[in-house]
């Protein structure tokens, strides 16, 4: 089933020199989709789905994205044409108005709200590294409300609650934060689905089905 779904899909991964493109591409190829690294706006032409990755400090990623020249095309894709986009890790955080990690650099603001530092408080360790339970509050692809699954996280900052859109799934580490958020055609995850083995592939399949 995933093969037939995948064969009609063509995933673009925004290549702005701040993401783990290799691993994300591999995961989608495993699901049977074509994958294109989007380095110019024209690369979007054949894509059906777009992924905004992000590894690095918030400010570094935001500046790289701005310098890439791809931002107008990505905004056109997600906000005007309303086509499916998935933000991963810092690619999720960029959808906020800003982050405490790099207060001087604005985010894209598509989901509003701010990204804040996770607080260890001597109870939990920061960065939050490893496999943690994600609870789905609303349906998301193959996951139903009430479902739980372990995903791989690696981060020190997190989205509490988006001001626009909604929290789809949450996770606890010291505090409760958003693991998955969504607004219309835009979905974003704090964990790394491309590194989360079968649970991750299930989540990516859900994104491709939308």
């Amino acid at each position: 089933m995933s093969q037939s779904l995948g064969s009609r899909r063509h995933v673009g991964v925004v290549n702005y020199q701040a993401g783990n493109l290799q691993s994300i591409g591999n995961a989608f190829e495993h699901l049977g989709t074509l994958v294109t690294r989007v380095t110019r706006a024209a690369d979007l032409a054949d894509c059906t789905h777009l992924v905004l990755p992000g590894v690095g400090a918030f400010g570094f990623c935001a500046e790289r994205l701005a310098q890439s020249g791809l931002l107008p095309a990505v905004q056109q894709w997600a906000l005007e044409d309303r086509r499916p986009l998935l933000g991963i890790c810092v690619g999720m955080q960029l959808l906020a108005d800003g982050s405490d990690e790099s207060p001087e650099v604005p985010g894209l603001g598509w989901m509003g709200g701010r990204v804040a530092a996770l607080i260890g408080g001597g109870v939990v360790r920061i960065p939050h590294v490893g496999w943690n339970t994600v609870r789905f509050d609303v349906a998301c692809g193959e996951f139903q409300p009430g479902d739980q699954a372990d995903f791989y996280f690696d981060h020190s900052f997190a989205y509490g609650q988006p001001a626009l859109g909604r929290r789809v799934a949450s996770c606890d580490h010291g505090t409760t934060f958003s693991a998955v958020i969504a607004r219309d055609n835009v979905m974003a995850v704090q964990f790394h689905p491309e590194k989360s083995q079968s649970a991750g592939l299930r989540l990516l399949r859900g994104f491709l089905a939308g």
Binding site: N26, G56, G122, R125, I126, H128, Y152, D154
Partner: protein
Amino acid sequence: MMRTSLKKRLVPKLLIKHRPMGRVARPVLVTTRQFRSARDVGDPVSQAKIYEAQLADELIVLNIDGTPIGGDEVMLSLIERLASETFMPLAVGGGVRSVDDFARLLERGADKVSVNTAALDRPALITEAAARFGAQCVVVSVDFRTEADGTARVYRDHAGVSTGRLVTEWAAEAAARGAGEILLTDADRDGGGPGLACDVARAVSDLVPVPVILGGGCGLAEHFVEGFLRGGAEAVTAGTFFCFRDQNPMQTRAHIRNAGIAIRMET
């Protein structure tokens, strides 16, 4: 109230040496004893696939030849193959000297980069890497031996040379400078299976706010349990234990679970 549902991690470690095959060099998985006498085990990619099937939480890949990673196409293409043929998080180290080396490894598929001797030479490297890639990407690897006075001291250059520094003191500095994790390896216990240096790990984990990964000395499944409970480690790593014993991550995981420790049992 449960403040986190984060699981403890079981992390197989792949030690890599370059071996000549005809005119080319290829990466070979080895095990060591006290960081010496490397013994060839086989192909690292095949071994990684087995570990993935056995539900390893993450993989540590270390080039123990110490060749600079920047121009080391043998290691870089190994990382690329591991990233394309498995879906596990990869922490990669050995011969990492600069922020550009971090970028190169991440580009080829590493998720985290481990730095050891270069951070001792120039601790500012930790801060620079954390500023660009985030602390969660920076693993500071600390090799140590227990000296005649009973203290655990930091060793450098593949645990060949003592720096004279206390493990606790360097780990605290590394965390303060932006390390996201501390990887502690006991060079004396390496490969022998006598059990982990839980006291050293506990002293470090009490001192730093970041996760501690403990390795060197696993010989029994029970040693993992001790590493988590007595050592306060977030992750326990082992190489020889999984390579040469009739033990795999799945069996070890069940033992850890039976001790009441939260660990992943299925995907």
